[in-house]
Amino acid sequence: MSVLRRTGQALLAPLLAVAIALVISGVVMAAIGVDPLRALSVMTDFGDTPSQQVTAIVVILNRAVPLFLAGLAVAVAFRMGLFNIGVEGQYRMATVVAAGVGASVTLPGPLHVLLIVVVAMGVAAIWAGIVGVLKVTRGVSEVISSIMLNFIALGLASFLLTGPLRGSEPGASIVTTKEIPESGWFPSLNGLLGALGLANPPRQLYGFLLVAVVVGVVVAVLLKRTRFGFDLRATGLSASAASASGVDAKRMVITTMLISGAVAGLIGLPDLLGSDHNYGTQFTSGLGFLGIAIALLGRNNPVGIAVAAVLFAFLDRSSVPLQIASIPSSVVTIIQGTIVLAVVIANEVARRIARRQAESGTAVAPPATGDGSSGEPGTGPPTGPAQSTSTAGRTDPTGSAQ
């Protein structure tokens, strides 16, 4: 019963959110003179030939992999009640340094890739670690410091790219680092597509997809099945309760930021190792910020984040066919925006339902706070230790504590 109820509650918010978002988007589309059903059919049309259809799926998956990693990086910190807005800067720093290191060495295949991955994770972890150290030693809000470190990271990455790590010819319009030798490329999964009996598209399916799956599983196990994960979630729910039961809060903050950063370091690697093989001025930016939306939509749960990443990737892909079908591609932006907005509202509603049930004593439903997806501390009477949000020093994920 309780399992059923819990599953119901977990699904309630996202389903409600997507339903509301679809309705709102439909209304908006109708208001700007677009037939919502036609838009939907264009968005779900992957092409006529098998090759086109597989290409569409590859495009979606390739886009979803970095989005998933970005969402995961944000979510790890969220679960602890830390709002890591610095994922953007962390992955940009990691990617430029990893590209530089990767291009400067020659190693046997797997080692070369491993080195690049380790460097990327290390750089991003250090960059995120600064935020953690500032927080525990000087009490600097991680929201402020991580935003500001984003600007420093962008400037520093740009300096590294145009200065020491520059590999493109002088005068070239696009500045890039040196190309990573072929031993440092991540093999694509197109062979797998062939084995599944699908057409082999001209686009390469990123092999990094497998890494992302492994990282997702590791993070899920870490959060759900280890002592560390328990401490992390407990601290996220109530810092004071956690430290009263012996959790070292400072150590937790730093460790969590390091892990969040390490995952963030992977965000740029699917593109770097799978297709670009160098970091340049055209390297995809903004993934770190998208990660916040993805984590929110996925309710900080690895499976949810995967679904959210695929959903966003699907919506992103559809912007091109929409334009070709003479439908403004801003439809996609509208849908993405309404989904995020609706998720925030739905999470809040689900949280209140859960609390009401807890208050009426019919079930000991776990409160939905602490997943970082809703922030309304201090309203209503606390119903249990996990709900005591008035504790000084508790970090609210939305940055609006008290």
Partner: protein, 348 residues
């Protein structure tokens, strides 16, 4: 109840946002143009899309003119917000049978080669980047932006009363640095002691600087406050902020790419746009489509548009620089004759 109220409020806000942006959406979609024959032209815009009143609009004007003479249709597409789908834009245009496919902006430079090789029967053109060593069916449409900017620098230095002028670059990329180099050289050619303030809105790798009027305004305001009286906005869609700063501080500004006096669409801003450094993307695109229709397209090479072909130059709309036309023409002649060599990279 609260939920319903929030949902309605949200939808209203979103509806408002949507209707505020006709440029990127409704304007950028749809097939327009004349007869059913003629080429099916695919046009992929740079960040900012249609309605930037500058670079992308200029490309569209060229396509429109070409359709006027040759017939045909055009399909416009814009990249998504982080421009990660550039390759997909070109692929889908080629897939849908559009030929030629014109990519507006050097940012397509690192993807156009791969796509072009997949579609050897389609002719591709790329504005502001090279077609040499990319693919046999890619033509580069390039501009000597430094030469046009040199004339902009001449105009600024001649017209400046404070001996202090500014340059606002959108993003610190080699392309925009060529604008800077030309502008500074032009200003110094007129007045060796002139102060030229140079600032970029965003560093290399962060393309927000081409589409951020608010930051353009802040940067330009700083220059006017520091004594500049004329600021050159080589910043794409951010230029509008530079014009606003000029209007607010009684200074003047120089537009870029299109004749922004004509395209800005705001009388108070028109008054401050002294001239624009034209990059005749429209002429280049129109000429390219012309060669496509003739069947004389030569892929794998570049078409360079400079002062000698009138591919770059200054605009005289508004009549603010009519009085110094002879000076401008004089410098133009010297550059065309090779007496002045305009640098392509900043000296510092």
């Amino acid at each position: 109840m609260k939920l319903a109220a929030l949902a309605i409020a949200g939808s209203l806000a979103l509806a408002a946002c949507a209707s505020d942006e006709p440029a990127s959406g409704s304007g950028g979609s749809g097939s327009s143009g004349g007869s059913g024959d003629g080429p099916k032209i695919g046009l992929a815009y740079d960040t900012g899309g249609r309605g930037d009143k500058s670079f992308n609009d200029s490309a569209y004007a060229g396509v429109e003119a070409a359709i006027e003479t040759n017939g045909g249709t055009v399909q416009e597409v814009s990249p998504n917000s982080d421009a990660s789908d550039r390759a997909d834009l070109l692929t889908q245009l080629a897939d849908q049978g559009y030929n030629p496919v014109i990519a507006v902006g050097f940012a397509y430079g690192d993807v156009i080669g791969d796509v072009a090789k997949q579609y050897p029967d389609v002719d591709f053109a790329i504005v502001d980047s090279t077609g040499v060593d990319v693919a046999d069916n890619v033509t580069g449409l390039q501009f000597a932006a430094n030469q046009g900017s040199f004339l902009g620098g001449v105009a600024a230095a001649t017209k400046s009363t404070t001996g202090n002028v500014g340059f606002v670059g959108g993003v610190e990329t080699p392309l925009i640095q060529a604008f800077e180099a030309g502008y500074v050289a032009g200003a110094k050619a007129v007045n060796p002691d002139i102060t030229v303030q140079v600032q970029y809105i965003s560093p290399a790798g962060d393309f927000s600087g081409f589409n951020d009027p608010a930051r353009g305004q802040i940067v330009a305001q700083g220059m006017f406050d520091a004594g500049a009286d004329i600021v050159y906005a080589a910043a794409g869609g951010s230029g509008i902020g530079v014009f606003q700063a000029a209007a607010a501080s009684g200074g003047r500004a120089i537009g870029v790419d299109s004749d922004q006096y004509e395209t800005v669409g705001d009388a108070s801003l028109q008054a401050v746009i002294m001239t624009s450094v034209l990059k005749r993307v429209d002429n280049a695109v129109e000429a390219y489509i012309g060669t496509f229709v003739d069947g004389s397209v030569q892929g794998g090479q570049d078409v360079v548009n400079d002062l000698s072909t009138e591919g770059v130059g200054l605009s005289y709309s508004g009549g603010f620089i009519d009085d110094i036309k002879s000076t401008i023409d004089d410098y133009t002649q010297q550059i065309v004759d090779g007496e002045i060599t305009v640098p392509e990279t900043p000296t510092n």
